[in-house]
Structure formats: C-alpha cells, structure tokens
C-alpha cells in the first residue's frame, strides 16, 4: 500500500484512462510531485474505463473532437496498445447514406486518412457475417482500432513514475476538497489530508460529486449505455487476434457490433436515456460487477436485439451462441455533448477533466497539460471548456433534459444548425413578445431565444424574388428560410432592427482597469472615453483566443461586449486577468443590459426619430467606433457606432427592464422608413460573410494567427500584451495560410439540384486532392452562407499562399460531389462595399 504524502504539487483524482493520461502528460510537461489518488483498485478501479468497448472511430463532424480523437489514436499507437482493425459505418436508409457522405467530407477536412465509401458487397467482403441486403452501403476508415485502455493506463502511470514525477495511492477515497480565498489548497481523504496547489478531477461519473466538495460545478450526469457480449461464435474460433474484422457501426439503429476474441459485442445508444444521480452510484464493494456496470434491463435492449439479428443473422441468430455478458454500463453525458475540461471558474487551481471517452482521453489530457503548464494547448479546447456554462446549464433540470434529448443523437444525423427542443425557453429578451407577434423562428444561444428570422417578413420574398437565393435541397433548407436573405436585402436597402440580447457584457472598473485590459488585448484600449475598440485576444503562443469590443465609458470604466456562446469563458479570461489587489474589478452586467442593433442606410434617420435629439448622432458628432448615451422615449441608452453587418448603425445597450420600451420606440420610428425586424441569420451569417468579418469558433481559433486571418494591423501598440512576442514573430514571417473568401461558381449537382455548402467541408485542388498548408493544416470551409447582395454563395477558408490568389479555381466536396469554387478575396477585404463607405457614412 502506498503511503499518502502530506503534500503534493498536483493531485490527480481518479486513475481511469483520463487520470492516467493526465499523470503521464503532466509528467511529460515537466511537472514533478504529482500524486494520483484512486478510490478503487488498479488497474481497473471500477469506473467507466473498465467496461468501455475500447474502440476508436476517428470521424467526428466537430473539428475539436476529431482532433482530440486522432491525437489519442496516435498516442495509443505509440504506446503499442492500439490494434488497427478498421471500421465501417453502415447505412440502412438513403438519408443515412447521404450522412455517410457528409462524414467522409468531415473526415477529409480533419485529415482522417484512407477513408472510402463501400457498396454493400464491399462491406460483405470485409465483414463476411453481415447480411448486406439490409444495408445500402458503408463508410470505411482503415485507421479505426481497438485499444487496451487498462494497459494504456498502466503504461502511462509507469512512464510518469519513470520520470520520477508520480506517486500513486490506490484505495484512497477523497472526502473533501479544501479551498481558501477562491483557491484550492488540498484534498481530504479517508487516509489523511494532502496539501496541493492544483487538484485535477478526473473522476468520470463521480466528477460532479468531487467538484461539489469545492463548491464548483461539473454539469454531467451518469447515464446507461447497454452492451451485451455473445459467444463463442463459431466463425471466430480461429480468430487471430482480439479483433480481426472491422468494427461495424449500424448508425440507423444507434448500435455498434464488433468481434471481441471469439465473442461478439453489441452496444446500443438506441434505448431510452437512463440517467443516474451521481450520489446513487453504488460503492465498489456493494456492486455486483463494478459501480459502473449496473444490472442489465432486458426490456430496454430487446428491440435492439432484433436489429442486431437482422444485420448479423448468422451470428446473432445462431442458437449455439449465447449471451455471455449483458450490462448497463455507466458513462458520462453532458448537456451539450462535449467534454468538460479546464480550470473551474469557481475555484482557482481546481481543474476538471471529465466526460471523456476512451477515444479522446490521451489527446484531451495532453491538451489540458499544455494548457495548465503554458496556457498554450495545441488543440483549441473552447468547445469543451468548463467555463462555457452559464448557471442555468448547471441545473439538474437542464442536465437531465438535454442529456435525455441528446442521448439518441449519439449516432444521429445531426444538422449543423439543429436546435435543442427541451428545457426552453430559458432566457427571454424584453422584446420576446414582439418577436412572437412577428412569428419569429427562434434559435437558442447561451440560453437566449433569438429570432433567426421572422415569419412576418414573408412578404419581403415577393419584393426580392430570386435574389433571396431559394434552396431546393432539403438539407440546406432545414433550419433555414429564404426570408433570412430577404431580411438581409431589406436591411441593406433600408434598415433592420436586430435583437442582440445574447451578448455577454462585463464592466471592468477601477484605477488599474485600463492597465489590466491593455495587458490582455492586442489593440490599444487606452483610448479616449467614448471610443469603442474592437480587439482580438491571444494566448501566449499567439493563437487567437477571442475577439470582442470594448467601450471606454470613463477613464476607469470599460464595458466589454462579447458573443454569448463563449461569454462565460470570456468572463473567466477577464476575471483571471484582474489584479489580486482589487485595483481593477470585473462585474458581469450581462443580465442588466439588452442590446438592439439598428443598421442600414436609414439607420440614422430612424435613431434620430426615436431619440430626443439631445445627442448629436451625425457622422461628425458620433463617428464610427464611438459611443454616446442616447435617450430614446425617456430611456437613457448607450449607443455604440459599430457594425458586424457592414452598414451604418449602432448597437444600442438598454437597461433590460426598459428594453421593450426602446424596442417599441425604434420600431415605431423605423416603420415609415421600411425598416424590417432582422434575424440572426442575417447578422451572424449572410451580412458578415459579405463583409468578410471573421467569427470566433469558425475563422478565429487558437490554431490560426492574426496574420493568417488578415487581422494584423499595420502598427503595434507600445504596451505589452499576452501573446505579443509570438505575434511579433508571426508579423515578421510570411503566413503559411491566408484566410480567403470564395464564391461557389456552380451549385448544380449531378442530379441537377442546386446545393449549398453549410461549412466545415474540405477544399480540394482541381485534381480533387486535399489541400494542406506548411503546418499540416488542411483547408476546409470555415463558414458558408448566402451572399444575397453579391448574388453568390460564399465560403471562407484558409488556403496556402499558392492557392490564396484571387481567381484561383478550386473544388469543395459536398455530399460526395465536387463543386467548383474560386477565390474572390484573399485577405480581409470585404466582397460587399470594399471601401466600407456604408459604415462610415
């Protein structure tokens, strides 16, 4: 038995695949004095790792998850515990066959190699025991494999010990996490207390319980995944290895099947979502198998048995083949389906590495170790950042609703714009009732109900005819309406009023506020009060962390406005940058202000009519990138002359309880000018694409820099800021990729239907080959959407300089076909109104 030290630099709690990977990567990053605590016994402590089916499919539509997975597979390969057997996703329906083509495209985008579509006969040739008449085809990935996750864990622990970095204590239960002044100070266990600077929660389904001990929140729920193991299968009697045949994912039935020695494993995500309370998980001793292997609930699985029988009648229908093991295995589900990693926003030094599958664990652990050590993860973890959650996301109700809804999407055909249905509405704009009256189609962002377009604007369709770029294909028409493009055109022609309530807003105040922000921001924020600054934030490696606007309201008061999606993560970035002495402080005023956008050629007329005239809103009186208080119908608002749509206009910040009054005043003032209510479909997609405006999470991510993104300004401010050294280096060398705007030259598919890409598709050269830049990054569509004012479907993509030339002809792969595209802009010049005359009018 290991004896427990009194202190350690880092305590990692949990020795499943995640904790072992963490210990390994922290040691590789040079950390010493790491203590790995495990309540259970090694090598299989009884968590989800112990019953995992251990296979790794590499494809994911999410770039982040694919990157974690591909990196993990490579790490397993290096450890010698990866057995490559290939994998096939099969389709029973035409819709699924189309989805497989989309998965092929995502695979190419993220660099998964050797993939191809298979005919039923080709599937049969690789998996002789399948009934190929049940399927329409398959998608084969040679790099799919099976990992011995327990052995991997053992090897990683050993490697960390060989580096002299790791102490392991198994059979030790954490009973408390101590904090002082918002910082973790150690853990309590049933065998004594350990002081620590950093505590890493790698406890899988138990993570919420441990986090709660410190007053932090890890919003995941344990849920059941059913799995049976049948055998011995006569066909596998001569199996040469644990898995000789490709693993099959029967996507339409939410199931997977794989050979496992002489057995055959059948797993399902098709059954009802069966959630558990973390406090309801049995102890190791009291479990029949393990705490995460619960009694099988046969009734839930019976329909899946029928599906398995249909696809594999030779094996599953063999009377001599028995059900050897059947379990309800527990795994972690999160409200948005992504892992939960990073330092908790509640407690400094307390890190979460949770809700992670075998397939991504080592990659995520490497990312977290890099992040913790230097703040520079190679893979951008923003989609998994624990700081992304708003408070309502952390409620039991939300977790239960979204995980229940999300469970059956595990193998689902999920449209990139697909909306959640459960636990809505949560956050309502003061103008919500007006949106309802205008027949808004609501999309959710950060819990807010945001009009994506307004049904009441249908009349505009007649006005603009074919200019709304109607779509014939069902896929692109889903979660879309031509009304979006009509609203776009109406805004460009006259004016549009946009509800921007989802913004996250923080006030930073105090004598050191300016200095603290200056240290964080690339662009100078030490400007005159009344000025508005747009600025990116970088990480120390010069990767793009965020982009946002900051208004200087007084010498010692700044208002930060950022997108709602990562608003809470951005809040943590700013909060972490506040000096410890309190000389600058952050106050989250998101819920104090609502924001309306008023843009278009008539915007000044409308604001002039709505306001009382006490503020000079002329171009001279209120130039671009300035803010003033403007009184509208007796409400004192803050108007900032800024635009994400490329038009004259303002973002107007209104005390939230007076928001409806201001909306109504603007509405009344706008009607005579033909103003339309304009949805986010225009704001976030069409208008910005025409203007070449970059979006975080699409064009702006850690793996790109400002030079590549075309956002480097001619001069550099004097003050130091995070990432400056790296940025200076980037500025002095030629970029290996350039962000370009491309146009779709011919949307006509082989079947004659016009098709329009939605984003994340691979860009290929004219020979159909993947384009890769000098840093090994593939070119893919970062954003795509209609450009109604330019009459083209627009795409953005980073291209290597050899292709980043105006007029360069390339291809985009979309649902198995190649479409011609050409580079319209290399760099940041807008396609629409290149001189920015409209904004500055």
């Amino acid at each position: 038995m290991a004896t427990l030290p009194e202190r350690a630099r880092i305590v990692v709690i949990g020795a499943g695949i995640v904790g072992n990977s963490m210990a390994y990567h922290l040691a590789k990053q040079g950390w010493k004095d790491i203590l790995l605590l495990e309540k259970g016994t090694l090598p299989n402590p009884g968590g989800s790792t112990g019953h995992a089916s251990n296979f790794i499919f590499l494809t994911d539509h999410s770039k982040e998850m694919a990157a974690f997975t591909i990196d993990s597979a490579n790490q397993y390969r290096e450890l010698g515990v990866y057995h490559e057997c290939g994998g096939i996703e099969v389709a029973r329906t035409p819709e699924r066959m189309e989805e497989l083509k989309r998965r092929v495209a995502s695979s190419i985008s993220w660099g998964v190699e050797g993939i191809r579509l298979l005919s039923p006969a080709e599937v049969k040739a690789m998996v002789p025991f399948i009934d190929e008449t049940v399927i329409l085809g398959g998608f084969y990935t040679p790099g799919v494999g099976v990992v011995d996750s327990l052995q991997a864990g053992t090897l990683m622990r050993q490697a960390a010990m060989d580096l002299g970095a790791l102490t392991i204590a198994a059979g030790v239960e954490v009973t408390g996490v101590d904090t002082r002044d918002g910082r973790v100070t150690g853990v309590r266990t049933d065998q004594g207390n350990v002081e620590a600077e950093i505590v890493v929660i790698a406890c899988g389904i138990w993570s919420p319980r441990i986090a709660k001990m410190a007053g932090a929140s890890i919003p995941l729920t344990p849920a059941v995944h059913q799995m049976i193991d049948i055998g011995p299968v006569p066909q596998f009697a001569t199996a040469k290895s644990e898995v000789d045949y490709p693993i099959v994912r029967d996507m339409d039935t939410n199931m997977y099947e794989r050979q496992h020695g002489n057995g055959f494993e059948i797993g399902s995500y098709a059954h009802r979502a069966i959630l558990m309370d973390p406090d309801d998980i049995p102890s190791i001793e009291a479990s029949a198998l393990s705490p995460t292997m619960l009694p099988f609930t046969q009734d839930d699985f019976d329909p899946q048995l029928e599906d398995a029988l249909e696809l594999f009648p030779e094996i599953v229908g063999d009377e001599s083949v028995g059900v050897k093991l059947a379990i309800n295995g527990l795994l972690s589900l999160t409200p948005d389906g992504n892992p939960i990693i990073g330092e908790t926003p509640e407690v400094k030094g307390l890190w979460s590495v949770a809700a992670i599958w075998i397939k991504e664990a080592p990659g995520i652990a490497k990312t977290v170790a890099e992040w913790m050590t230097h703040g520079t993860p190679e893979i951008d973890p923003h989609g998994s950042d624990i700081a992304r959650f708003y408070d309502h996301h952390k409620t039991q109700q939300h977790i239960a609703a979204r995980t229940t809804e999300g469970f059956n999407k595990t193998y689902g055909i999920v449209h990139p714009m697909e909306q959640w249905e459960s636990n809505r509405p949560i956050r309502l704009s003061p103008a919500y009732d007006r949106h309802v009256e205008l027949k808004a189609r609501f999309f959710e962002a950060a819990g807010w109900e945001r009009p994506f377009w307004y049904g009441a604007n249908e009349a505009l369709l007649g006005e603009y005819g074919e200019r709304v770029m109607p779509r014939a294909a069902e896929w692109e028409s889903r979660w879309w309406s031509p009304i979006i493009n009509a609203e776009h055109l109406a805004m460009r022609d006259r004016a549009g009023l946009v509800d921007l309530s989802a913004f996250a807003i923080f006030d930073v105040s105090g004598p050191r506020a300016c200095a603290a922000l200056e240290r964080l921001c690339v662009n100078r924020v030490d400007v005159a009060p009344g000025r508005t600054v747009y600025t990116p934030l970088l990480n120390p490696a010069g990767g793009i962390l965020a982009d946002l606007t900051i208004m200087r309201l007084r010498h010692d008061l700044f208002r930060v406005v950022t997108g709602g999606g990562l608003g809470m993560r951005d809040r943590k970035i700013f909060a972490d940058a506040m000096p410890a002495d309190g000389s600058a402080q952050l106050h989250d005023v998101t819920n104090a202000f609502t924001t309306f956008g008023l843009w278009g050629p008539r915007a000044r007329d409308i604001l002039g009519a709505a306001s009382d005239g006490s503020t000079d809103i002329s171009h001279a009186g209120m130039p671009f990138l300035s803010s003033r208080s403007v009184d509208i119908d007796g409400v004192r608002t803050l108007a900032s002359r800024i635009s994400y749509v490329g038009e004259l206009g303002w973002e107007i910040y209104v005390p939230i309880e007076q928001g409806l009054r201001v909306w109504d005043a603007l509405w009344r003032a706008g009607l005579p000018h033909g103003m339309a209510a304009v949805g986010i479909g225009t704001y976030a997609v069409t208008a910005r694409l025409e203007k070449g405006y970059r979006a975080h999470g699409a064009e702006l991510e850690l793996d790109f820099n400002l030079v590549e993104a075309g956002m480097a300004r001619p001069s550099l401010k004097d003050a130091d800021f995070v990432g400056r050294a790296a940025y200076e280096k980037q500025r002095s060398t030629d970029p290996v990729a350039v962000l370009c705007t491309l146009t779709l030259d011919d949307p006509t598919s082989k079947s004659g239907v016009r098709r329009y890409m939605l984003g994340r598709e691979p860009i290929l050269d004219l020979e159909g080959r993947r384009i890769v830049d000098a840093r090994g990054r593939g070119s893919y569509v970062t954003s795509a959407g209609s450009g109604p004012s330019v009459g083209k479907h627009l795409l953005m993509a980073y291209l290597p300089p050899r292709h980043a030339k105006v007029g360069e002809q390339l291809l985009v792969e979309y649902f198995g076909e190649h479409y011609p595209v050409s580079v319209a802009v290399a760099g940041a010049t807008p396609l629409f109104d290149p001189e920015n005359a409209r904004i500055r009018s």
């Binding site: 016994t41 090694l42 090598p43 198994a170 596998f236 199996a239 644990e242 002489n262 057995g263 198998l289």
Partner: protein
Amino acid sequence: MSGPILVFVEHASGEADRVSLETLAFARGLASSLGGVAVEALLIGPGAELGPSLGAHGVATAHVVEDAAIAGVYAPGAWGAALASLATARGAAAVLAPGSDRGAEVLAHAAARLGLPSAANVLSVIPGDPWRLTRQRWAGSLLEDATLDGPMRLLSVAPHAVPVDERPGSPAAAIAQFSPSVSAADLAVRVTGHEAPAAGSVSLSDAKVVVGGGRGVGSAAAFSELEELADLLGGAVGVSRVVTSNGWRPHTQQVGQTGQRIAPDLYIACGISGAIQHIVGCKAAKRILAINTDPESPIMSVADFAVIGDLHAVLPAISAEIRRRRGHGQ
C-alpha cells in the same frame, strides 16, 4: 424438564466426523441452557464401538441402528425416517444434525415427515419462547436472526460454528439398540454403487494446487507457463472470465461466479486482479499466493502471500527452482 436433544451423528470407519462432533458440542451448550437436559445421539450403521466414546462429547445415550436393511448403505429417506421416529419416541426437545450434505439431507427428510419446520446452518441458539437463533444465509456472507418455535426444534449446525468439545474421563455413553420401522418406499432410495476417483487426472475441484491465470497472462500461448507449474505440483489450471471470453482457455477451467468454485490447499493467482466475481470462486482455498505486477490490485487483500512481479518471469523461475531441488534430491 423437557426431553433430550437428539443429534444425528455421521460416522465412518468407527469415527464420528468433525462437523458431527462440533454439533455435539453445540448440543452440549444448548442442553445446559435448557437446564441440563440429556444429549442423545443417533448412529446409523455399526456404532457399538464408537457409541460409548461419545460420552466424552456429552452424549448420555447413543441410539444405534444396526439393521443392515437400513444401515447397510446410506439411504436418505430411511435415515430421515429413523431420525424422525426416534425423535418422536424420545420426546426430543430438539433434533440437531451436522450442516454437511448428508446431515442437511437427513434432517430435511425428518422434518418433512414430522411436519415441522427446521432451520439450516445455525450458528447459535438462545432457547426461550420462542427460541432465538442465528443462522447463515448466502453461504455465510449474511447472517439472519430468527425465531423458531414448536413442540420440537429441528436444526442443522453450521460447520465450524463451535469447536469440538471433548472432555476425556467423562462417563461412556450408554448404547441403546434402535430398530425403526421404515417403509419400503423410504428404503427405495439408497446408494447403489461407489466409484473411486479417476486416477491421474486432476480436476479443478479436486486439485490440491490450482494455478490460476487472468488477463495478465496475456495470450493463449503463455498458459504453457502455468501448465508447467501445475504439472510439477500435480495440480490443475484455472482461469478468470476474461481468459475464456478472450478464447484463450475453455470455459470448463473458469473459476468464479460464472465458473467453478474451488477449494484447493493453495491457489496461485497469476495476473489476476481479483475481481469479486473471481474471488467467490477461489476464496475457499486454504491459502492464496498472488503473483502480480501491481501491489495495489484487489487480489492482495484476499491473498495470504504475494510475489510482486511479472508472472512471465516469476513462473518459469519457480518451475526451475522446483526442478532444481528435485534434481538435487535424487
């Protein structure tokens, strides 16, 4: 004063078996708490020599059934009927049997014939109204406090519930011949044949040494190292579930919850982490030696001895050492 406590005593070759002697000790204690009632024994089969010696175990009278028709071979129904009729004849306050296969069977037959309840694997009794007793459930993983009432209490005593209580110098037990009337139907079920254990082959259940292999063995081929040691020790190879599900060994060798339960003198657990499903199959081993790379693995909390190390290095070394010593001995 109530009637005597009657104890069914199993015996062979002129000796009472150990669990029967424990049962007599249990009866002695019970008799004393009942105010000093007599303990009487039922011996079926030649018992004239054994009977008197039971006095040292507290028996006042040994009732001996010598009628070859009943006593010649074991006949569970007939023996149960004999016990029932003797208990009735003696007005016994309690009827006790050892918690062995035969003891349980004979007692159940007696209880069924008497139309009375009986309690199995009792650990202790407090007489009273009703009697309070503690008995084993789940093969001893759980205890039950229960009450038992009736004109006559029938119970079997769990093995090792109390130690044998032999007091040399006690008066010899009196011998009473007992000739029960037993129906032909009761005599119909009886031992009709005997087989000696097959020579040579060592079955898992009989093996004195079992060399067990788990996930840590790593492959089907690597089991030769376990077989070699088992052969040297005249033992057998057993395996954990993961081994059979990997197809490395046949299911007949599986030890544990879904396999066999074994009770060798020594179980050598090689590369077995010690999942409870496996432990239940081997915990009856007198001693367990674990060979495992991981000192934290759960097998360590059930093992008596451990070697920390890779079984692929340790096992061949043990086999070589055995051969070396034997070579020197010749």
